[in-house]
């Protein structure tokens, strides 16, 4: 126990001392030391077992507080993370909703513009106008007049024969008929027009109008039939503009 500064004993001395210490002598001191060693061995084993199945119940108060603190910090961190992820998810949902709305609006624009540009088939109430011109005395001018009258009366989509009539449609006289946008049509010329029938048919029938002009000619005749369901299914091929490019405008979300 105490610092030992004496000279080292030789081996024989050490062995003799060991032998003396290990020789069983039953005196009070030896017994007491044995008892204490027994207590030590007992405590050692107990502590070993205790440590091996150590769980929360063996920890001291400060450690428990620290663990509790760790756990609650972890909980709040996970809670934060969960909140963040939840808000991200909400954002994504909202934006996908917005995207859906935008897509729907764009689709509607595409449909409307497709009808206007003649790239989409259209159906609805309207009229059928049939102009017969067996002798070819009416010509392109009459057809163009008819188209203009129909447009003035609010026609939304129309086709003549199997050619869709749009803003740029041309009517050219040709032998035996009229060339509409390059397609030769012959009498009778059948117009399918979508619009308000109650507006379209009187517009054609006004004095000096198309019907009057045609019916005044020698061989031509024109008839108008109001219909609940007119199908305009002739399509026009869209050509990419060579020079014009869409300009940046806030509302330019869709292009046909």
């Amino acid at each position: 126990m105490r610092p030992d500064l004496r000279t080292e004993p030789d081996g024989a001395t050490v062995r003799r001392r060991l032998a003396r210490a290990f020789s069983p002598k039953l005196n009070r001191g030896q017994l007491l030391a044995g008892l204490l060693c027994a207590v030590l061995g007992f405590a050692l084993v107990v502590q070993f077992r205790q440590t091996q199945d150590s769980s929360l119940e063996n920890l001291r108060e400060t450690d428990l507080v620290r663990i509790l603190d760790d756990v609650s910090q972890r909980t709040s961190r996970l809670q934060d993370e969960s909140d963040e992820l939840r808000s991200t998810r909400d954002q994504l949902l909202t934006s996908s909703n917005q995207e859906q709305v935008a897509r729907k609006a764009a689709q509607e624009r595409v449909d409307v513009l497709g009808i206007l540009a003649g790239t989409a088939p259209a159906t609805g109430p309207g009229i059928q106008l049939v102009i017969t011109d067996p002798d070819g005395e009416l010509g392109a001018v009459t057809l163009l007049d008819a188209v203009q009258e129909l447009r003035d009366a609010g026609a939304e989509a129309m086709q003549v024969g199997d050619v869709r009539v749009v803003a740029s449609t041309s009517f050219v006289n040709d032998s035996g008929g009229v060339r509409v946008d390059g397609t030769l049509l012959r009498s009778p010329y059948v117009f399918q027009v979508i619009g308000d029938p109650k507006t379209l048919s009187p517009a054609l029938g006004i004095p000096g109008g198309v019907l009057a002009t045609v019916n005044q000619s020698q061989s031509g005749s024109a008839t108008v039939t109001e219909m609940d369901q007119v199908v305009v299914d002739a399509l026009r091929r869209v050509e990419q503009p060579q020079y014009a490019r869409p300009a940046e405008t806030p509302s330019a979300t869709a292009s046909p």
Partner: protein, 110 residues
């Protein structure tokens, strides 16, 4: 001899009885065990030095255990229990090492 026997008997008893440590003793038992180990190594060294004394051994053993437990208890009350028990373990560890070194010199002459 009897001490070695006692150690064996204690270990066997601990294995057979499988007691659980009462909660109020749990912080002190490990420190007490280390302190007792220190006392045992000191006693072994005293045996080899030829100055072993039963009375000294018993008193040092008990006082080591009590003082170690007391220090840990005091540390717990002061709120520095874990640091203080670390300190106690370090000090006792150093003592055990130096005692073991002395024993080694006696037995192996090195």
């Amino acid at each position: 001899m009897i001490a070695v026997l006692g150690l064996g008997v204690g270990i066997v008893l601990g294995l057979l009885l499988q007691p659980t440590v009462p909660p109020e003793l749990q912080p002190y038992l490990p420190i007490a065990v280390v302190a007792a180990l220190d006392a045992v190594f000191g006693g072994l060294r005293a045996v080899l030095d030829g100055i072993f004394d039963d009375r000294v051994f018993v008193v040092s053993f008990l006082s080591n255990v009590v003082v170690a437990a007391l220090i840990v208890y005091l540390g717990d009350q002061l709120g520095v229990g874990s640091q203080l028990s670390t300190g106690v373990v370090v000090v006792l560890g150093i003592r055990i090492f130096s005692n073991a070194a002395a024993i080694r010199r006696h037995i192996f002459r090195a």
